[in-house]
Amino acid sequence: MGDEKFAEIRPRDLAVVWGRAFGQLVDLWTSGYKSLIETGSGENPAIGDEGGRFVSSAVSSAASGLEARNMKGDSFGEVLPDGAVTVHEIGPAGPPHGPDAMLMNCKVNESLVWPRPGDIYRGQVFDAHEKVIAEISVDAGS
């Protein structure tokens, strides 16, 4: 190809070339990001808000096997019995989360909390394989 011909080529005529190069860069970045997220998810479970809600992509439809445990009050140090906090699936989390991400909610059975004092209780959600999928906190007791 002569120099003149080369000068006539517009960037978008070479879109396949720079698009592929850019695409490869994006792929590389995305793969890196995903592996970072996956690596992170092995060590750092989802973090819930104080209303007991959290988003997780690791649960899909197996929410019935989820259990909240080790719930300890951060002011008074009391520990809740298993079953005092239950985990329920609300539905797809929606953007900016991925299509697999589900919005989960924790409910407090106040009669099981009594006579422990009102507090912010923090603990973990375990899946059926005993893997921690979320760190949660709920306002329980009164």
Partner: protein, 444 residues
């Protein structure tokens, strides 16, 4: 404390007067409250113009003035709305920072923003309206981050809490949430999170008195703080609501969170207490990823049990709770007098911090560094958008446009600027670490 004689001959303290001004501004625009709470209001309800004139003349904090004005304007209709344009303008003028000169025409523009908000249809202050109001008028009022991000109150939620005797209440307890974000560290809010100081800077809190068997206990093992039972008295209209509270005040060792938890004290609870659920948390906490480094939040569950009086928990959100949080903002910025006992507590806390020299300083420096870098990162994402947008458009255009090189350079400049800023943060961290090291050497 200043006193003032009212038209009816009644003498009010400055604090009572301020509380009444806030209550009147609420009542003037909400006739339904006069019906429900007439038996506890027991004074003439002012016209919107008079209520706004009192608000203008008062030293109520700017955030409360703004929210009262926006809410009142949205709730008013027809002629009333026309009649309050000038009083609204006057109230707003009192909230302009002293170092700013704002022409009348610009303030008229601000009132026109209220008209735009009313066109949206909802006749009360919503969070989205507050965001729009702040965005359209911050060049006039110079809102702080805390004012901009202030949210109060969402009291539509609830939960089935139990009474101090462990019995169901029958209906859900009302959940009240108010929060804001601040550029100050959580420790800056410690004096205001501490419930002992609420009566000092909130107009609705009258007393927080240690109960006879309150057994104040300082907690020395981390997290530090105290446990105690207090008798809390809040005044709304003519009603004094006294509730015995069990309080736990805590500070994490790295100062990344300070909080107070309160519940009705079971040992002091009697049938005379007007609520059977009063539990919640007030906290200031470092949270990465927010609009500012620190989130200050107050949540409270309330359930009214006194069938002989109207349910005043319905007003807790509009009156005491959001005002407490608003006062906290100005107190933390040094814009209202700091109570004496708070100063003493602060000095004691600082003395404790100096004693621990090395570790606290390094922790603080690392925390500050992370906050700075995260803020820089978030800002850089925003700054990349315009040059990147241009770059993509020029590349995908139908003709050559060599100015894409300029866009690429602009992207590079953003990178360079932000890298430079991050480098400054790194240098500051290094300096802090060096100082901490020197301190240790000096100590021995």
């Amino acid at each position: 404390m200043g006193m003032r004689v009212e038209p009816g001959g009644q003498t009010l303290t400055d604090k009572e007067r301020r509380r009444q001004v806030i209550e009147d501004a609420l009542l003037a625009f909400r006739p339904e409250l006069r019906e429900t709470f007439g038996s506890v209001i027991r004074r003439d309800v002012l016209s919107p113009q008079d209520a706004l004139a009192n608000l203008e003349a008062s030293d109520v904090v700017p955030l409360i003035k703004h929210r009262a004005v926006v809410d009142g304007y949205l709730r008013s209709r027809g002629r009333t709305r026309t009649d309050i344009r000038v009083p609204v303008n006057r109230v707003l003028r009192t909230t302009i920072p002293e170092d700013r000169t704002i022409p009348d025409t610009r303030l008229d523009d601000a009132v026109r923003v209220l008209d735009e908000l009313t066109a949206a249809g909802d006749s009360r202050l919503q969070q989205s309206y507050w965001v729009k109001w702040v965005g359209a008028t911050t060049d006039i009022f110079n809102f702080s981050t805390a004012e901009e991000t202030f949210q109060a109150c969402n009291d539509s939620g609830g939960a089935p809490k139990l009474t101090p005797k462990g019995e169901p209440t029958g209906t859900e307890s009302r959940l009240i949430v108010a929060d804001f974000w601040s550029d100050l560290p959580p420790s800056a809010f410690a004096p205001y999170v501490d419930p002992r100081n609420w009566p000092t800077y909130s107009t609705f809190w009258e007393e927080m008195t240690e109960l006879p068997a309150g057994s104040f206990q300082a907690k020395v093992d981390p997290p530090k703080g105290y446990d105690c039972c207090f008798s809390e008295t809040v005044k709304i209209f003519t009603e004094r609501l006294t509730v015995p509270l069990q309080i736990a005040y805590r500070e994490l060792p790295d100062q990344s969170r300070v909080w107070a938890r309160f519940n009705i004290s079971r040992g002091h609870y009697t049938s005379a207490v007007p609520v059977n659920v009063d539990t919640g948390t007030v906290s200031a906490e470092s949270i990465p990823g927010g609009p500012a480094p620190t989130r200050v939040r107050a949540t409270k569950y309330l359930h009214w049990s006194d069938s002989g009086r109207p349910d005043l928990t319905a007003l807790a959100c509009d009156l005491g709770w959001s005002e407490l949080m608003a006062e906290m903002i100005y107190a933390s910025l040094g814009k209202v007098p700091v109570p004496h006992n708070v100063v003493a507590a602060d000095q004691a806390a600082m003395a404790g911090q100096t004693a621990e020299t090395g570790k606290t300083t390094v922790d603080d420096a690392v925390g500050r560094f992370m906050d700075d870098v995260m803020r820089e990162w978030k800002k850089s994402v925003n700054d990349y958008a315009p040059p990147l947008n241009h770059l993509v458009r020029r590349f995908t255009g139908s003709t050559w446009n060599l100015r894409w090189v300029n866009d690429l350079l602009d992207v590079g400049k953003v990178t360079a600027d932000h890298s430079g800023n991050v480098a400054s943060h790194v240098r500051r961290l290094a300096d802090a670490l060096q100082r901490a090291d020197d301190g240790k050497d000096d100590d021995g």
